[in-house]
């Protein structure tokens, strides 16, 4: 009989925990296009720092370094320009939300 009471108490406690939601719900940051672009910018920046480091460590010769750095800087510039556009001229976007 004891076990029946324990099981019942267990079920009630679980039910209470799962369905009683008195407080505020945390919905988290909504991912925006600018946020997404910033993540990508961070990745390109990391690649650029990496390239600089590998060049200094003697793994990338000067000629390759210049061309690789230039293409990464182009990519970063594209991202920075778009981020700047979004920040100066905020338009409601949901491009990256799904």
């Amino acid at each position: 009989m004891m076990w029946l009471i324990i099981c019942l108490a267990l079920a009630v406690a679980t039910f209470f925990y799962v369905f009683y939601l008195p407080g505020r719900l945390f919905l988290g940051p909504e991912k925006t296009r600018a946020g997404y672009l910033r993540e990508r910018k961070d990745a390109v920046y990391e690649n650029l720092r990496d390239l600089n480091f590998e060049h200094k460590a003697g793994k990338v010769p000067d000629a390759d370094y210049t061309s690789l750095k230039s293409s990464l800087q182009d990519e970063a510039a594209t991202l920075l320009a778009e981020i700047a556009r979004l920040e100066t001229n905020p338009v409601p976007q949901k491009g990256t939300r799904s």
């Binding site: 296009r33 997404y36 672009l37 990508r40 390109v44 920046y45 650029l48 720092r49 600089n52 480091f53 200094k56 750095k69 990464l72 800087q73 182009d74 990519e75 970063a76 510039a77 594209t78 991202l79 920075l80 320009a81 778009e82 700047a84 491009g95 990256t96």
Partner: protein, 175 residues
């Protein structure tokens, strides 16, 4: 060897000399093989080598010479048989054949190089070559393909704006 000697008599001198050279090479190879066999023919070494290529059949799933339980119904008998065969001077394949006939094909610790068993070795090798070819092809294709459009529907920037942001990126990531 005698057959080749016999055939030399009917050939011209140049061909004869080539055949002689070949025969000498064959003889050398044979000698080398004999020595190699002699080297490998040390009964203790052969016992160990063949014994490590066989399984104990008692169900312990261990290599015959690694089966370690005293009172194993099979391994002692099998070891004695192996020792007897090796002492008799039976060739490796003959010893293995004898064991396969008596205990079934599972007595060999690895698939043989005959029939379907060969597939066990061939398939990983084929997979290696195919995979290698595939990766090389992928690398070449990816290298030659045009740079993909910038993901996320971004427009490339130009002119002064490009220079400004390029500069910014350069400075922010400088060491």
């Amino acid at each position: 060897m005698s057959a080749s000697k016999g055939s030399i008599t009917n050939l011209n001198p140049k061909t004869k000399s080539i055949h002689r050279t070949l025969s000498a090479a064959k003889a050398l190879l044979l000698c080398a093989a004999v020595f190699a066999l002699l080297g490998a023919g040390d009964p203790a070494t052969r016992f160990s080598e063949i014994g490590h290529r066989m399984m104990c059949v008692c169900g312990c799933n261990q290599i015959l010479l690694e089966c370690n339980h005293v009172g194993c119904p099979d391994s002692d008998g099998m070891r004695n048989e192996l020792m007897a065969s090796v002492s008799r001077g039976d060739s490796d394949s003959l010893v293995e054949q004898g064991f396969v006939q008596k205990y079934g094909p599972t007595v060999l610790a690895a698939p043989t190089m005959k029939g379907f068993d060969r597939m066990a070795y061939i398939l990983p090798l084929v997979a290696l070559f195919l995979g290698f070819g595939l990766v090389v092809t992928i690398v070449r294709t990816w290298k030659n393909r045009p740079a993909p459009a910038i993901a996320g529907g971004l427009r490339p920037v130009r002119g002064a704006e490009l220079e400004q942001f390029r500069d910014q990126a350069g400075k922010e990531t400088d060491l």
